[in-house]
């Protein structure tokens, strides 16, 4: 079933059952939002996506309102922009203004909105939530003073991850996202919550203080752990991977597990092998590549000569690339001359 509606004067034919926000996104109408994520159930909490529908007494949220035949939507006008501005201003009135040292600066939706609405001063200055103490878990920095209660972290933890490690507790101005009894976070540490947080309330601890957004280069790659093949984005600063994220439109819908998201530090471990090593008298000694490779070629050659090619075998790795695996077996088959090739997880 298709319905026809009008958005900002443009007539659009869409699938029945979509929301105004979905349609607007598909057709490039910009509607700001803080609490919506297409991967989560609509929430309608931040109220930024208010739009005016002709004939309705008050604006409605685009994220929760399904399109209907003949609907006439205005995504922006003076009244609506005024409401959005007030909402951002209210949020800022209860938010620390430490953007200059905030890890999220440059990647923060709230900051962007404040900029967009040019909110230099705040008419609503007043009491601000203040929390002391920090969460002792090793992965996720929780700064609840920066939380805007969009509820995305709670929804992702419940709807997607099925863990429900956090919930909104209390109500009204005292509402707060926290683990039960406000203890330290104790969960699967998938960091899905970090990935959906629009502000600096939830950050990966490992990445903190490692570089500003402008200095970060992003490289698309694939997770090195299990066989799911999750697409990851490596955030690189100063020749070091400092953060891992994932794009929502990827195979894994932007979701990762604790290892994929937070388990990348092995890469810059001081334990990494940095030189070829040759064991002499029971001890490893550093060698040059030429030295090491010549030695290996020589020894393989000797053994092949003496015991035949089938006295040599190779174990390849499920951790290496296809290209490496291909060349490895080609090496054994064509260069050494044996079919003694296996990898340990072929079953």
């Amino acid at each position: 079933m298709m319905v026809t509606l009008t958005i900002d004067g443009r007539s659009i034919k869409v699938r029945d059952g979509s929301t105004i926000l979905q349609v607007s996104r598909e057709h490039d109408f910009y509607i700001p939002t803080l609490c919506d994520d297409p991967r989560l159930e609509p929430y309608g909490g931040c109220r930024l996506c208010l739009v005016q529908i002709k004939g309705m007494p008050r604006p409605v949220t685009a994220c929760t309102t399904p399109v209907t035949e003949g609907m006439n939507v205005e995504t922006t006008n003076e009244e609506i922009e005024g409401l959005r501005r007030t909402i951002v201003e209210l949020l800022l009135s209860d938010h620390p203004t430490d953007c200059m040292i905030c890890e999220k600066a440059g990647d923060c939706t709230l900051q962007e909105l404040a900029y967009f609405y040019n909110l230099r001063e705040n008419r609503f200055e007043g009491e601000r939530r203040q929390y002391s103490g920090s969460d002792g878990n090793p992965f996720i920095e929780r700064n609840m003073e920066k939380c805007i209660l969009c509820g995305k972290c709670v929804r992702v933890c419940n709807e997607v991850q099925g863990v429900s490690a956090i919930e909104i507790a209390y109500r009204g101005f005292s509402a707060k996202v926290c683990p039960p009894f406000e203890k330290d976070l104790d969960c699967e540490f998938c960091g899905q919550c970090v990935s959906v947080c629009p502000t600096g309330a939830l950050m990966g601890k490992i990445s903190m203080g490692k570089g500003r957004q402008k200095d970060i280069e992003k490289v698309e790659s694939i997770c090195p752990y299990c066989g799911c093949g999750c697409n990851i984005t490596l955030h690189v600063a100063r020749n070091e991977v400092i953060r891992v994220s994932s794009r929502p439109e990827s195979l894994n819908e932007g979701w990762l597990c604790v290892k994929g998201r937070f388990g990348f530090r092995f890469n810059s471990s001081p334990d990494r092998l940095k030189h070829p090593l040759i064991k002499r008298n029971g001890r490893f000694e550093e060698a040059s590549w030429d030295e090491a490779l010549d030695y290996v070629a020589e020894r393989f050659g000797e053994i092949k000569e003496k015991h035949g090619a089938d006295a040599i075998a190779g174990l390849s790795s499920a951790r290496c690339t296809n290209e490496e695996n291909y060349l490895f077996q080609k090496f054994l088959r064509a260069a050494v001359g044996t079919n003694n090739i296996d990898h340990c997880a072929r079953y």
């Binding site: 609509p42 309608g44 909490g45 949020l91 009204g172």
Partner: protein
């Protein structure tokens, strides 16, 4: 039972009656009657009954003594007064004139039209028989025997009944939506989460005549095709809950609930769900979340509960008073009901008339009645004959009607035009000693504390509104504050998710509209004209009146009053906490407030 006896004693045992000692009065009657051996010696049947609230709780304990159909009503009865009533009235046939209700008791009732409350105060709420004797459950039998669900809906539509919980949505239409909505099973919920401070209609109806609500629910369930119903009721109403439980059991025993109701192919049962203390759960979607066992956070509509409600199924939520109307409408017809009220607001409405009015209590009036009649005729005017300032209607979602507008018709449309609402029916009368800025602040404190916190305008916006009001009443108001209040109020109204947030600024907007001068006095002159806002008050002792009795010094919690015995005292302003204790204590009017 009641009708078989020629002496019937009815004791008001609502929450008000019990608070005034009703339990003792009932047992005193029972003891005295037994001691006097009335049933044996006078050869008359005498029975004592608990009845629910008849509205005039301020006069409790109210007692009816009915001898051979002739009723005498006593007020302010305590248990030690019972022996005299039994001796003089019951045994000797001579009513105790001093204790009888006065003229004002009758004027209180005269202008009322009782539909929902017609059996409250008459039937024994813990005895289904007394309801059945007065025609109870006849409507249900009629519906099941002679009407289709569609006909039932049509009849309710024709009556013009609108939801009594606040929004005033036509009840028949709501039922029709749910009946036609796809999805099984369907649910019917009775919303008894009466959260408005200053409202007690629902409590009184359930305490006084629970079966009228149950009968309404069963008829509603039949009409929409529901198999299961819930009564979502505040845990703060223990007596109502208890009586409802008893009534449900009795209804089940009589075959009005359960499987094959009245031997027909119709099953329906009702469960009680206790609210756990959250005002926002009066909102339909929050109420559903609460019944499902979650935090009572509202959801965006659409989808409406009639399409996707409890457990995602079509659900009708009706308020107690709405449901209590149903049986009477069925029994007497749509036209009978529609004769009361105005063109768009049919029938009667129950109000909780309280505040600075002489006769406070529960009243039922036809919609469209002039507010003046309510305040001055039924309510008997202002306490202490002070000047009326305003009537607040609709609780924290409502607004004020000023003294100038006292002739306004009380119906959905007129009140809305004046910037207020009928709401669930709270009506608080205020006089010149009430500060309207303080009232606005009071309501904001309430809504702010009850905000669920889901949406930004309500969570932070009401907090900021309250902060601005606090600084105004503290004497720290700023020149632009009235503008700011108005702008923020309008934004909260437009942008909030649910009814709680959308209506939360109403008390502010309404007082700003009608009492600008009071705001200005607070902001610019740092003065509270009504003498309510503590920080804008000073208490001082008028030496010429002070007798040096030391009473004030003794009650002062801060030790701010000094002076020798028999000599004029003095208040040290730096220490004074402005609690007003001295002002109330002084017998010589020597304390000046201002």
């Amino acid at each position: 039972m009641m009708q078989e006896c020629n002496i019937v004693i009815k004791v008001c045992m609502g929450t008000g009656g019990i608070a005034a000692g009703g339990t003792g009065v009932v047992s005193a009657f029972n003891e005295e009657i037994k001691a006097a051996g009335i049933n044996a010696s006078v050869e008359k049947n005498c029975s004592v009954h608990n009845v629910g609230c008849r509205g005039f709780c301020a006069r409790d304990v109210l007692v009816d003594v009915i001898i051979d159909g002739e009723k005498t009503t006593y007020e302010y009865i305590k248990s030690d007064m019972v022996p005299r009533i039994v001796q003089e009235h019951i045994l000797q046939g001579q009513a105790v004139g001093d204790w009888e209700v006065k003229e004002d008791y009758h004027t209180f009732h005269e202008k009322q039209v009782k539909v929902v409350l017609s059996d409250c105060g008459e039937v024994d709420p813990e005895d289904i028989e007394s309801y059945v004797e007065r025609g109870g459950y006849e409507a249900l039998k009629k519906v099941l025997a002679t009407m289709t669900p569609e006909e039932t809906i049509d009849l309710i539509k024709a009556s013009g009944l609108r939801g009594r919980g606040g929004a005033g949505f036509p009840t028949g239409l709501k039922w029709e939506f749910a009946r036609k909505a796809p999805g099984e099973p369907k649910y019917l919920i009775c919303n008894a989460d009466e959260g408005d401070p200053g409202a007690f209609m629902d409590r009184s109806v359930i305490e006084g005549n629970p079966h009228s609500v149950i009968e309404g629910m069963i008829i509603g369930a039949y009409a929409i095709g529901a198999l299961k119903g819930y009564v979502y009721i505040r845990a703060e109403y223990p007596l109502a809950v208890e009586r409802l439980k008893i009534a449900l059991d009795q209804a089940r025993q009589r075959g009005f609930l359960g499987n094959r109701i009245q031997e027909r192919d119709f099953n329906f049962d009702i469960k009680i769900k206790l609210g756990a203390g959250a005002f926002v759960c009066g909102e339909e979607t929050a109420l559903i979340a609460s019944i499902e066992g979650n935090r009572g956070m509202p959801k965006a509509k659409p989808p409406f509960p009639a399409q996707k409600g409890l457990w995602g199924k079509p659900t009708v939520i009706n308020n107690v008073e709405t449901l209590a109307n149903i049986a009477y409408i069925i029994r007497n017809g749509a036209d009978w009901f529609a004769q009361f009220g105005t063109e768009k607001s049919k029938g009667t409405k129950v109000f909780a008339l309280t505040g600075k009015v002489k006769n406070s209590g529960l009243i039922e009036v036809p919609l469209g009645i002039a507010l003046r009649e309510i305040v001055y005729d039924i309510g008997g005017g202002i306490e202490g004959d002070r000047k009326l300032k305003a009537v607040q209607t609709g609780g924290p979602s409502g607004g004020c009607i000023t003294a100038d507008m006292i002739d306004i018709a009380v119906d959905y449309e007129s009140l809305a035009k004046a910037g207020s609402i009928v709401g669930s029916g709270g009506m608080v009368v205020m006089d010149e000693t009430d500060c309207m800025v303080n009232i606005a602040k009071y309501f904001l404190e309430f809504t702010q504390a009850e905000s669920c916190g889901k949406c930004v305008p309500c969570r932070i916006g009401t907090k900021r509104l309250l902060e601005i009001l606090e600084r105004i009443t503290d004497g720290r108001g700023r020149p632009g504050d009235m503008d700011l209040l108005e702008k923020l109020s309008n934004d909260i109204r437009s942008a909030s998710l649910c009814g709680l947030g959308q209506t939360a600024p109403n008390p502010v907007l309404s007082t700003l509209r009608y009492f600008r001068d009071e705001y200005e006095a607070h902001i610019h002159e740092k003065r509270c004209p009504a003498g309510v806002c503590k920080n804008l008050l000073t208490y001082s002792i008028l030496e010429e009146f002070c007798k040096g009795c030391t009473m004030c010094a003794r009650v002062c919690p801060a030790g701010a009053i000094v002076g020798e015995k028999k000599k004029p005292h003095k208040i040290i302003q730096e220490i004074c906490v402005k609690c007003g204790a001295c002002f109330e204590t002084c017998k010589f009017k020597a304390i000046k407030k201002g």
